[in-house]
Assembly symmetry: C2
């Protein structure tokens, strides 16, 4: 049960996140693979989606402490990619260390109560998502984080010298594409379960 204040806070937060999501869709900044899931959840009275990423293939420039900075993205794609394009990209002049990465999906879902947060965790388990937890638990605001498990991370360049053979790099991209595909399948499975279990949930 949530207090009146809790309900008010929830509605406000939900509305704000819905606006952000619709704006991202309009500006074509939302990941295509994740739009149907987000739209469905936002249509439900007691759920919404906060930041989310469907999974991606990236080339990152990292400093010694490996802090991720938005400016450090050398390449980023939320679908299968072409080895030649990425290879050309990493051949550009660089400093520091370049990492080739395939990252799994990450979703932040919001809801109004611990009961509904637990319902999301059940859906995640049914979909085989191992990393799923409540990261914020306040009256009227519960946030659940879900993360896929399939990932790769390989240092491929240092001090402007490419460390891998082209053939091996082509193999890496092939593996990354395969893993990204499995990642998308998991996400689709979760969407299907959510549409069944969380529809019109109070």
């Amino acid at each position: 049960m949530v207090s009146k204040t809790g309900i008010e806070r929830f509605q406000m937060v939900k509305k704000r996140h819905e606006k952000t999501f619709e704006k991202a869709v309009q500006e074509k900044k939302a990941d295509a693979q994740i739009i149907p899931l987000c739209r469905f959840l936002n249509q439900q009275p007691f759920f919404f989606t906060a930041s989310s990423c469907s999974g991606r293939i990236v080339v990152l420039r990292l400093d010694a402490q490996e802090t991720k900075r938005e400016a450090a993205f050398f390449y980023k794609k939320h679908e299968k990619t072409n080895a030649k394009i990425v290879w050309n990209k990493i051949n550009e002049k660089t400093t520091d260390i370049l990492w080739f990465k395939q990252e799994p999906f990450i979703l932040h879902l919001g809801t109004n109560s611990l009961e509904n947060a637990n319902r999301v965790l059940v859906c995640a388990r049914k979909a085989g998502i191992k990393r799923a937890g409540i990261i914020v638990a306040k009256t009227g605001k519960f946030l659940i984080e879900l993360i896929g498990t399939h990932g790769m991370a390989i240092p491929v360049k240092k001090n402007n010298i490419i460390l891998v053979e082209k053939d091996f790099f082509v193999f890496l991209v092939k593996q990354a594409n395969k893993k990204l595909e499995i990642n998308f399948e998991r996400l689709k499975k979760f969407e299907k379960i959510v549409k069944k279990e969380l529809r019109n949930q109070q």
Copy 2:
């Protein structure tokens, strides 16, 4: 507040996990880096540690679907490792794909109430741990999962053919050792914060 049944359930679960932990320490199966943190938490009236791993460097044999099986561990070490040893290991006859991985710590902490679970999340945030969430939320049983962020995953062998040059592999191990070190530092920071914030918490 937890009901009498909740308290009884909590005490039972806490006792069981403490036994498992002490047995693992005796049999030298517990990761050295994590023992002081686990021991401190188990000494507190309303906390315990379930399964945990301090972070590690592994060589895994994975099938097409990349399901992890215990039998598939080719090599496993919970501290810095020597490139030559791992190189010799991957030169043994194999099938499928071998992955060289550095995995971050993963901790499961138990507590009795949502309030105490939230206290753990606050400690995690203070320590800079990004992946921290409540994965079980039942009366008298709350489980929090914490995962480090530093990791590597590289396919290094396929159909008994090594895909990487020895020099590059040595570089990978060096990077993995460095990342494992940062991972341990994060864990120590969390231990320090926990010892300050969760002592004698009701």
